[in-house]
């Protein structure tokens, strides 16, 4: 008896795949998706909060900068520190006889 060709054999083998039935998606899947969406929404920070935080940080940095600049300016104007005020003089006298 003649053996069927490999092409024919393959066709037969693949035909069995067409017998696979379609199944319905699990019922709980939609609920799971909705809860993932909800969780992700809660986990993410809204743009309003991000903008307010950025504005607050900017204000803090500007105030700090302003204070440093004006503080330096005043120090330069009013007080000129002498070398004595920076380096403490010692009162210890070591006497060698």
């Amino acid at each position: 008896m003649k053996k069927p060709s490999s092409k024919k054999q393959m066709k037969d083998k693949l035909e069995i795949l067409a017998k696979i039935q379609k199944v319905n998606a699990p019922d709980e899947m939609y609920g799971n998706i909705l809860s993932i969406i909800k969780n992700r929404k809660n986990a993410t920070i809204s743009m309003t909060w991000i903008r307010s935080a950025a504005a607050a940080i900017l204000i803090l940095i500007s105030v700090e900068g302003y204070m440093i600049i004006t503080g330096d300016f005043k120090m330069n104007q009013n007080t000129t520190p002498s070398i004595e005020s920076i380096i403490p003089s010692s009162n210890n006298l070591l006497i060698y006889d």
Partner: protein
């Protein structure tokens, strides 16, 4: 069309397609959920160059392939560290076969075909799934895969040849 309508129209399609790639109910559900998360997040950027169905097909195929890749990688790392095997590339994508659409009497032979199908290059596997399992036409398959009909035809011929070789090898063992 709102998200709920999109879901009810495409959920079975997505789940079944993911099942064909992964042959496991739990994995397919995970992938299907991931697909709908992507649809939900990207629906506003969907350009109607192709139909919504084709777009969802593409997302499902890519998500399934990514899932398989990640699973293979995890398995490889685990086995490599546990057994200290010489060549981590030798680890094969072993599937816990659980396809609810397969009839009991066909289970053994279908499982063998799927085992061979899993060894094919991804494009060849996709062509077989779309043409034989999803019963798409060559034109539809070409549209989903962004290829010409000729390319799809040639991929399918190569896939059949390779499948035959793999199945014969397995039978010879």
């Amino acid at each position: 069309m709102n998200f709920q309508e999109i879901y009810s129209e495409h959920s079975n399609l997505v789940f079944n397609l993911a099942l064909h790639y992964l042959q496991n109910k739990e994995d397919a559900q995970e992938v299907a959920q991931d697909v709908f998360m992507k649809v939900y997040n990207k629906i506003h950027s969907f350009k109607e160059n192709s139909s919504l169905k084709t777009w969802i097909y593409r997302i499902t195929i890519n998500t399934s392939l990514d899932f398989i890749k990640a699973k293979k990688r995890n398995k490889r790392i685990f086995l490599y560290s546990a057994l200290q095997i010489d060549d981590p590339n030798r680890v094969i994508h072993a599937v816990n076969f659980d396809h609810p659409g397969v009839l009991m009497e066909d289970k053994e032979s279908v499982e063998k075909i799927f085992q061979a199908l899993n060894k094919l290059p991804v494009e060849q596997k996709t062509v077989v799934i779309l043409l034989r399992l999803e019963q798409k036409t060559q034109a539809e398959t070409a549209d989903i895969m962004l290829k010409t009909i000729k390319a799809v035809e040639s991929l399918f011929q190569r896939a059949k040849k390779n499948l035959n070789t793999i199945l014969n090898e397995n039978e010879g063992l």
